[in-house]
């Protein structure tokens, strides 16, 4: 019943701006996500693809539609404002970009003629193979002016295929020039109005090709600013500027036709992977390698940032949960820790750990956050930053950060420059509430305990240094009540008492170096679990100091749930990962899921739920208290969710879609209020009583709201009907008032009821006021003024 759900990841490889700059569309996993450019909020997703979405392109014929292609072999046409799938195209091959398809090993460029057909599902049969040698990189293909030709490159060859003549012109460059620069093509774009192809190269050069209709008299000019490969190129829709980006994370704007004149927008974050410009040229958006989309005004000012889970090169830290904000914490921007709210699926902030400018250049060895740990209350954060993992001269710092209540963020408290003489392997905080203690183990064979100094000294200092036969420690763990510390030294586990720093016992076990170590929780806290390199999962009983059970599983990650006894173990065997959830007390797993994913899992975390689930199903009971998130080697964050949850999410999202289908305009506010009020009426008053008056009004409004604008009759025709629909309740009340004429006391009661019903609506209040006046008027009218006539008559 459980299903693995991919955590929403913003960014992806391509983003596209909708017409009128209102939406940003981006491919993300098997979804196409729609964001608002103004609020930077996620609006909805276009669901339907069954595999990775590889490319999106706006329909040039209809600016409300978007094509998307996917590795599942389909091209789909969507109405992206309503999120409706319009048409499905089966292309049979994996689409790498629109009209780019791929065989498993050789990539082929196929021109797909999209047949005009009203049917929902169309199989594209009319295909012509343009070239069977194209690059697998989708940015190496681009359509030229008016779609008359397509340019594609592969390594050192640029090809231009003219659709009308069905002829390919190809131009090739030398592999390297005299200075040893790489000439290989990395990206291509075509000028929207001129016949000019811009190509980016591995050495950072940009070439502008012209006259490419001739085999020989073609010509190109070269411009050079980037010092590494150019990742992407994009012409503005007017063709006056060329935008380029690369690993430098600087957006460069070249003036077209004016040689070297250029503008820069530096420090955008990760390296730029893709640039797109809106069709009116007002906004550009760049997608970055760190899972970010930046929206940039044409005046070269950043006006919005859509940040997903920051994807670094590698996650060195464990996945952690900030006990205060319940945010997921891991490596973010280089040198930062990121806080990511899983509930809201939103990036919260980056905490600068290294506090040094990061230089975006390939091949530099810079400081990276390697380890991080929170204490149980979330008031302390310990980090280790490292430089020179590859070389011999390693540099590292241990930093301790205190949570500042006033600023609501972590503030650096202590920097320890030489915490150990060699690399820190692992560290953990004690789990008791009273005393905070940090234990670090390092490759120099020692473990150290760190405490905040006595007599109100604010900084941290070393409290105890321990070692065991000069063996290299491999892992450490505190028991749930912090009364025991387990440190594994190669094959030996040592148990220490943190109170007295006395070694209580050692646990030896069958051969193999201990890899993971964890104590059981709650009712199972007497058990200690360990995994070895020799594919053994062992469980010791700490009371008897004996091995309780062991099983032969190759465990790559062992993760205990802090809120229950459950322990999750990921095992990697024959190229796929299996998950076992078990209680330490019994060797039989509660839950097994074979083939969770094909990559190795090294990071996992249990995230406590906001509200408990009541799953009766035994196999999903372990998900009741907390949710398991895990990170694959491809940097995909995955989780388990139950069927009921999924249903709930689906229904809520559907509701959202319906609500969102009406744009928020003043007109909507007016109508929306009216509708809300009517809904309230429905719920409050007796349904039977309302029935006669309800249908007319709501049907009209619904018709107004749900019929597409272009099929509606003229506004003048609608107006009277619409106004009438608004007035219906009024006439109903008038009717009732006619009855009320007989007894005024009844009418008073009725009035108060009406007041209850119509509260909140200004219009209605206005109406009501006029009604009261009317009534006054009626009363005045009803009153006999004949005596006045008499009086007048009698006067003369």
């Amino acid at each position: 019943e459980e299903c693995i759900k991919c955590v929403e990841i913003t960014g992806g490889q391509c983003a596209s701006l909708s017409h009128g700059c209102r939406f940003v569309l981006c491919a993300s996993g098997d979804l196409v996500k729609v964001y608002s450019t103004r609020t930077e909020e996620w609006l909805h997703s276009l669901q339907g693809h069954t595999n990775q979405v590889t490319g999106i392109a706006l329909n040039p014929a209809n600016h409300l539609q978007v094509y998307s292609c996917s590795a599942d072999g389909t091209v789909k046409l969507w109405d992206f404002i309503d999120g409706i799938l319009i048409k499905v195209q089966l292309v049979l091959y994996k689409c790498m970009k629109l009209c780019v398809s791929a065989w498993p090993e050789c990539f082929q460029l196929v021109a797909v003629h999209l047949p005009k057909s009203a049917e929902q599902e169309v199989e594209a049969k009319e295909m012509s193979v343009v070239s069977s040698h194209i690059s697998s990189n989708p940015s190496c293909t681009a359509f030229g002016r008016g779609g008359e030709y397509i340019a594609f490159a592969r390594r050192l060859q640029l090809n231009v295929y003219f659709f009308r003549k069905q002829k390919t012109c190809s131009f090739s460059l030398k592999a390297t020039d005299k200075k040893g620069a790489q000439n290989a093509f990395t990206c291509i774009t075509c000028h929207p109005t001129d016949d000019c192809i811009a190509t980016g190269h591995e050495d950072g050069k940009i070439r502008l090709w012209r006259n490419f209709i001739h085999k020989k008299e073609y010509t190109y000019s070269t411009q050079h600013w980037h010092h590494n490969a150019v990742n992407t190129l994009c012409f503005t829709p007017e063709g006056t500027h060329l935008l380029s980006g690369g690993i430098e994370s600087v957006l460069v704007q070249w003036q077209y036709g004016a040689g070297n004149r250029k503008e820069f927008l530096p420090r955008l974050g990760g390296s730029i992977l893709h640039i797109s410009a809106s069709s009116d040229g007002q906004l550009f958006c760049t997608s970055h390698s760190d899972n970010k989309i930046t929206v940039i005004e044409s005046s070269f000012k950043v006006c919005g940032v859509l940040q997903g889970l920051v994807k670094g090169d590698a996650v060195l830290t464990d996945l952690m949960i900030d006990p205060r904000s319940k945010a997921l914490v891991l490596n973010g921007k280089p040198g930062h820790l990121q806080f990511y709210s899983l509930l809201r699926d939103k990036h919260l902030y980056n905490l600068d750990i290294v506090q040094q400018e990061y230089i975006y250049e390939a091949g530099l060895d810079q400081f990276e956050v390697a380890k991080a740990a929170f204490d149980i209350k979330g008031s302390w954060l310990a980090t280790v930053e490292e430089r020179g993992q590859k070389s011999s001269d390693l540099e590292f710092f241990l930093k301790l950060w205190a949570f500042d209540e006033r600023t609501q963020s972590f503030v650096l408290n202590t920097t320890i420059t030489a915490a150990h003489t060699d690399r820190i392997i692992s560290m953990c905080f004690s789990s008791s509430e009273e005393t905070t203690m940090l234990v670090t183990i390092a490759e120099d064979g020692q473990f150290k305990a760190w405490c905040q100094g006595a007599d109100n000294q604010n900084f941290w200092s070393c409290d105890f240094v321990g070692s065991y036969h000069n063996l290299k420690p491999t892992n450490c763990s505190f028991s749930a009540d912090s009364s025991l510390l387990a440190v594994s030294f190669q094959e030996v586990i040592t148990i220490w008492s943190p109170e007295t720093w006395e070694m209580l016992t050692t646990l030896c076990q069958p051969p193999g170096i201990i890899r993971d170590l964890c104590f059981g929780r709650l009712s199972c806290s007497k058990y200690l679990l360990g995994t070895t390199t020799r594919n053994l999962l062992c469980c010791w009983n700490l009371l008897t100091c004996a091995l309780e059970w062991s099983s032969s599983v190759e465990v790559s990650k062992l993760q205990p749930d802090p809120l229950s006894e459950n322990v999750a173990a990921f095992s990697y065997q024959s190229k796929h990962t299996d998950l076992f959830v078990f209680k330490p007390s019994e060797p039989r797993p509660l839950f097994t899921n074979k083939n969770v994913c094909s990559e190795k899992v090294h990071r996992a975390v249990f995230v406590p739920r906001e509200e408990l689930l009541n799953n009766c199903d035994e196999s999903s009971q372990w998900l009741n208290r907390s949710q398991l998130y895990f990170l694959t080697q491809n940097m995909d964050l995955l989780t388990f969710s139950t069927a009921t949850e999924e249903d709930r999410m689906l229904s809520s999202s559907k509701q959202l879609v319906i609500d969102d289908s009406v744009a928020v305009t003043p007109f909507y506010l007016l109508l929306g209020k009216h509708r809300q009020q009517q809904q309230k009426l429905n719920t409050q008053s007796h349904p039977a009583a309302d029935k006669p008056q309800q249908p007319q009004g709501s049907v009209t409004i619904k018709e107004l709201l749900h019929t597409p604008a272009h099929v509606l009759p003229a506004a003048s025709v609608l107006c009277s009907m619409f106004v009438n629909s608004l007035l219906i309740s009024n006439t109903g009340e008038m009717d009732s008032e006619k009855e009320e004429e007989d007894s005024e006391e009844e009418m008073e009661a009725c009035d108060s009821q009406q007041e209850l019903r119509v509260q909140g609506s200004v219009d209605e209040v206005m109406l009501k006021l006029s009604k009261a006046q009317e009534r006054e008027l009626k009363r005045v009218r009803k009153t006999d003024f004949s005596w006045m006539a008499d009086l007048i008559d009698s006067k003369p």
């Binding site: 001129d194 012209r210 006259n211 010509t219 000019s221 036709g257 040689g259």
Partner: protein, 673 residues
């Protein structure tokens, strides 16, 4: 392959002069190059850019512009004259004073702001009239093809003149630079008037601007550089334009249709070539290449690959640093060297060495014996030293001087021979006989005068005249060892052989399409060995009046590809007296010994095979060795000469040394410096 003691000479401080102007004649495919020292050189573009003619300059004669009118070449210089050159005799024909620092030829813009119009007559040019006088000086000029309009580049502006009326039609203001350069005036260094009415200008702000001559408005401007754009040149069909900058870059613009297949074309900046280190003062676009020259004194021929049909050695990138003439002469028997500078001669005695091994200890340092300054303003055209070292002769355009050296052990006597025969007024090329008894002086109309030398003085003996009646000047002379034969080569590619005994023309070598760059007469066989500009070689038996068998095999089998791809001509032919089958050749980059007894290499064999041969055994060597032995130990060779004690003199002029003596280039910020 023979062992030689080598004198490696690096004390010849030859400095090539910077290039000031270029003019291309498309009909004859000749490129005229004017240098800073006033000399004009003619290169043959289709004959591998061989330097056919050199017209030496004069003191204080800066050339500012060059122009071809038909086959006549004119120049205008800062001394205020327009000069026409006599190209057959390689001298100045006449000079007309155009009043005060003119700029351009036969349409002369003057420093005082006038544009003077000259008419080109059959034998002279004649002043016609002035156009409207302007206030600022005129820096550049260009005709419209119709001949009715002239564009003139001035300080801060460009003016268009109507030639009929002499009035200015448009004034177009060029913008000054921004910032500090705002106060400096903008010099329009170069203008080009295209036939479609577009005027292209290059200025000191670094802009190449395109103007419309009808409205006088700016069409487009390209920022090419941060410094000056000094030179512009347009191709003959006006679809390509090159601009030379003071950064040493040549920027190409092309007239390209923006939408394929349509006619609305625009000038688009395309390629950039960087082959110079200093200011580029002149560019010219010829049919298949861009030629540029500047302060760094090298002429760069950059081929345009899109215009070349077949890629070959003839169409490769070519950098010409040194003249294709000999500037160093050796007195073979006495170990003296004569260095020819533009304004003076230097005589050196070679050093002596002792010991053995790959590098020898210098026992006696080389010694400068003589520094001979030229009388008058003219620069030296040619010079020679006799093999015995007793006679030195040089010639300028106007005079020829002969000197006699006499040295005893400590005494060094030097005197000029005062009474010279009248025929020796000037020479195109000079040569002594191998026994130093005769001087051969090449004169006008391809004739050679013979003068006998003796202790008492010199005596005119006779004149050798070719049968063909060619008027072209002789650029090479070669006398045989036995004093019987003399060979002369002229610019018409003719090689005449004279019998010195009878003083009559003996025969003429069949005319080849390429120019002779070096020749020598074999001391034992009396065969004339000739090297051509296209790297072909011929051996002609004088006695039998036909090509030798070896020469015919070479022609039949063809030379190796790598030999043909060399880009500098061979400048000297020598013969190893110890092994008569050895011919020694050299060009700027290598020294080569051809063993005529060995088989010729074909394209499949390894050409540079010395290293491979070394690793083989004696027997295997025989099957692998071929006629060409190339030595690349020496670089930037100006001259190689074999002297009598079996040693070679190699005169090198390293390009790095030349570069250090050049003025500092414009400072540029480079990435990562």
């Amino acid at each position: 392959m023979g062992e030689f003691k080598v004198h490696r000479v690096r004390f010849f401080d030859y400095m090539p002069s910077g290039i000031r102007a270029l003019a291309f004649n498309g009909d004859t495919e000749r490129m005229a190059v004017a240098r800073m020292d006033g000399s004009v050189e003619i290169f043959h573009c289709s004959d591998r850019f061989f330097q056919e003619k050199i017209i030496p300059g004069r003191e204080q004669c800066g050339i500012e512009g060059l122009s071809w009118v038909g086959e006549r070449l004119f120049s205008a210089g800062l001394n205020g004259g327009i000069t026409e050159y006599d190209l057959t005799n390689q001298k100045v024909k006449y000079t007309i004073d155009a009043y005060k620092i003119p700029w351009y030829t036969f349409l002369v813009g003057c420093e005082d702001g006038t544009v003077k119009l000259f008419e080109v007559n059959e034998d002279k040019i004649q002043f016609e009239r002035n156009l409207d006088r302007q206030k600022s000086r005129i820096v550049s000029l260009s005709w419209h093809t119709s001949g009715s309009k002239i564009a003139a580049g001035m300080m801060d502006m460009i003016q268009i003149f109507n030639v009929e009326t002499g009035h200015s039609i448009h004034r177009m203001l060029a913008d000054r630079g921004v910032g500090t350069s705002r106060s400096k005036e903008c010099v329009v260094w170069s203008v080009v008037y295209l036939s479609d009415g577009t005027i292209v200008s290059g200025d000191s702000v670094g802009m190449v601007k395109l103007w419309d001559d009808q409205t006088g408005t700016l069409i487009k401007s390209h920022n090419v550089t941060k410094c000056d754009v000094l030179a512009l040149s347009v191709s003959q069909n006006e679809d390509s334009l090159v601009a030379g900058t003071s950064e040493g870059t040549v920027v190409q613009f092309q007239f390209v249709s923006m939408v394929l297949g349509k006619d609305d074309k625009e000038w688009v900046r395309t390629r950039t070539f960087k082959n110079h280190t200093h200011d580029i003062r002149a560019v010219a676009e010829i049919t298949t290449a861009v030629v540029s020259g500047g302060m760094d004194a090298q002429l760069v021929v950059k081929p345009l690959l899109d215009k070349i049909e077949v890629r070959s050695a003839a169409s490769a990138l070519r950098k010409i640093h040194f003249p294709h003439r000999r500037l160093v002469f050796c007195a073979r028997n006495s170990g003296l060297m004569l260095f020819q500078y533009p304004g003076h001669l230097e005589l050196w005695r070679l050093g002596e060495s002792e010991g053995k091994g790959s590098s020898l200890f210098v026992k006696r340092n080389p010694e400068k014996l003589l520094h001979l300054k030229v009388k008058g303003e003219d620069h030296i055209r040619c010079s020679a030293v006799s093999p015995c070292g007793e006679w030195i002769v040089y010639s300028t355009a106007s005079s020829l001087r002969l000197y006699r050296l006499h040295y005893q052990r400590f005494l060094f006597l030097f005197f000029q021979i005062s009474k010279l025969p009248k025929v020796l007024s000037s020479a195109n090329q000079l040569c002594f006989s191998s026994d130093s008894s005769h001087l051969f002086s090449a004169s006008t109309q391809s004739s050679v005068h013979i003068v006998s030398l003796s202790q008492s003085g010199c005596k005119f003996v006779g004149t050798l005249k070719p049968k063909s009646g060619s008027h072209q000047a002789i650029h090479l002379l070669a006398a045989s060892e036995d004093g019987e034969w003399l060979a002369s080569a002229n610019s018409d590619h003719e090689v005449h052989i004279y019998n010195l005994q009878t003083r009559k023309a003996h025969c003429t070598v069949p005319v080849y399409s390429s120019a002779v760059t070096a020749m020598g007469i074999h001391p034992t066989t009396n065969c004339l060995f000739m090297m051509y500009a296209d790297q072909q070689m011929c051996e002609y038996s004088i006695e039998q009046k036909q090509y030798t068998d070896w020469s015919r095999t070479v022609q039949r089998k063809g030379l190796h590809r790598l030999w043909m791809e060399r880009d500098t001509p061979c400048l000297n032919v020598m013969f190893n007296p110890q092994n008569p089958s050895h011919v020694i050749l050299h060009d700027t980059y290598m020294l080569c010994i051809i063993d005529q007894s060995l088989p010729l290499p074909d394209d499949k064999t390894q050409f540079y095979n010395q290293l491979t041969l070394k690793s083989l055994t004696e027997d295997q060597r025989k099957s692998h060795s071929h006629a060409f032995k190339v030595c690349k130990t020496f670089k930037d060779i100006l001259c190689v000469e074999l002297i009598s004690d079996q040693s070679l003199v190699v005169v090198e002029r390293p390009l790095e040394d030349v570069a250090t003596q050049l003025p500092a280039p414009i400072k540029q910020k480079k990435f990562a410096t």
